[in-house]
Amino acid sequence: MTFRELKTVIPPRTGAVEESPAAGGFSFLSAVLAARKRKLQRNALQTGSVLVLVLACLGYADFFNPQRYAEGIQGIFQIIVREGLPPDFSRFPSWGQPLLDTFAMSIAGTALSVLSSFILGFLAARNTTPHPLVYAGARLFLNLMRAIPELILGILFLAAVGLGILPGVLALGFHSIGMVGKFFAEAIEHADPAPVEAVRACGGSPLQVLWHGILPQVFPQMADVSFYRWEYNFRASTVMGMVGCGGIGFQLISSLNLMDYRQVTALLLVILLCVTVVDELSARMRRRFQ
């Protein structure tokens, strides 16, 4: 809002501060104060409505019904503490292969998505797309990949290519394209156009402009997103095991079905350890690419 508009909206207050004759009974101070007051009121209103919405949703989900918890908490306590402790690591030697499977699945799936996103990202960025139709098509594909849950993709690929970690790799790969490709495209769109123009000015071909003008700028963001996605895919690959795509998740669901809860807690601890290691590795790699 310009100051002129402010002046017409807000009638001047009467008081000691703004009685300067030069401003004709109107001062910048009173305008600023009035605008500030209205802004504070608006903020309070917005915060209030978000709070009401959150409470309404929690109530709708029966979150505030104490009866629902009375037995439930006891049941959970029963499973975890009485039947789940101490963790049973007796079958630990046979988890080596499934853990390797899970690692391999997450790395291969992430690599698949990063490689495809690298090309799709340039097609789905406004400033580098060869044609608006290609742009629209690429964006649609990315949205589609994001919209299909990876578990559904896992079941589909399981039916298509059979057992093993391959369906898991394909499911993680395709689902991840949705998010990784979108982030790549956004990074490309936010690249500084100045060096891009410099490459054009020194006689670079269109592909040289992408490779030497844009890529060096967006590379850190791309690396960041890729490693973050690896973290995510490692966690997700344990879930993939549950639908039959192999890996440590398959061991987990088997123990759950056998109601061997001491083995379940042992597996959960092993997964926790792996997730921590992957997070730390990924954080170090991301720092290196800044």
């Binding site: 410099a198 490459v199 020194c202 006689g203």
Partner: protein, 272 residues
């Protein structure tokens, strides 16, 4: 139209003419005319300064000269290339017509050397340039950094360099192209006066050494008078002066700058 076609077929009569612009017009969508029928000829080895206020059309004209900006009408002829259009050997031409930008247009997180190597790209096929460039290019790039006095900072990230140093890297990148023409768009506009002076000195020196044909745009009258052999005055997209710098009179300067508001500047800058 017919006249322009003829023009493009026939090189300018005078032998020394290196670059020739004929009735160049740039009209932006919405009808704003950034350039109106500019015609001028640049002789080989000449150091020309485009002088004018911000928005007078200096940048647009320079950007047209290597077709970063597409003219709405008119034509540009360059010796050895003929009329420059998007279809002629544009990459070849741009390789020989290096550009130095006001805000240097470097990639901040890359080293000075990597940025200078960018100037070698047009010497390689697209496919070849996906791989690291050959060592001979690194030698050329280092030699260019040496010439601008930054060989010791070759592996420093550009965003850690000062404004003057960045502009030197920009100049080294232009030199790495081994150009015949050098365009510089307000090369010192964002530098302090002392640094600006040293950058102008450097540009003049390398232009002399490599016998480059040079077109600068500047808005500082004093710099234009001291460094330009020839001054072209632009005002509101029109050419209002074209001649030797010592022929610039107060009246003409006022034409370029539209009014006498810059009185003090003129007093200080006008040659006796």
């Amino acid at each position: 139209m017919g006249l322009m076609k003829n023009f493009s077929l026939w090189p300018p009569a005078e032998k020394e003419i290196f670059l020739s612009v004929h009735r160049l017009t740039v009209e932006y969508p919405g009808g704003h005319k950034a350039l109106q029928e500019i015609s001028l000829e640049i002789r080989r080895g000449e150091l020309t300064v485009l002088l004018g206020r911000s928005g007078a059309g200096k940048s647009t004209l320079l950007r047209c000269l290597n077709l970063l900006q597409k003219p709405s009408a008119g034509s540009i002829w360059v010796e050895g290339f003929g009329e420059i259009t998007a279809r002629t050997r544009l990459r070849d031409y741009r390789r020989q017509a290096a550009m130095v930008f006001q805000l240097h247009h470097l990639i901040g997180r890359q080293s000075a050397l990597q940025n200078v190597l960018m100037g070698r790209l047009a010497y390689h096929s697209t496919l070849r340039s996906f791989l690291p460039l050959p060592e001979s290019d690194v030698e050329i790039a280092m030699e260019c950094l040496e010439r601008v006095g930054l060989a010791d900072k070759a592996s420093n990230r550009v965003d850690r360099l000062s404004g003057g140093e960045r502009q030197r890297v920009g100049i080294a990148r232009a030199l790495a192209q081994r150009p015949r023409l050098l365009f510089a768009d307000e090369p010192v506009a964002s530098l302090d006066p002392i640094t600006a002076e040293s950058i102008m000195e450097l540009l003049r020196r390398v232009a002399n050494e490599d016998r480059l044909t040079v077109v600068f745009s500047l808005h500082q009258i004093d710099l234009a008078c001291r460094y330009g052999e020839r001054v072209i005055g632009l005002s509101q997209g029109r050419l209002v002066f074209d001649g030797r710098q010592h022929h610039l009179t107060r009246q003409q300067l006022e034409g370029i700058y539209d009014e006498a508001a810059c009185e003090m500047k003129l007093e200080a800058a006008l040659l006796p």
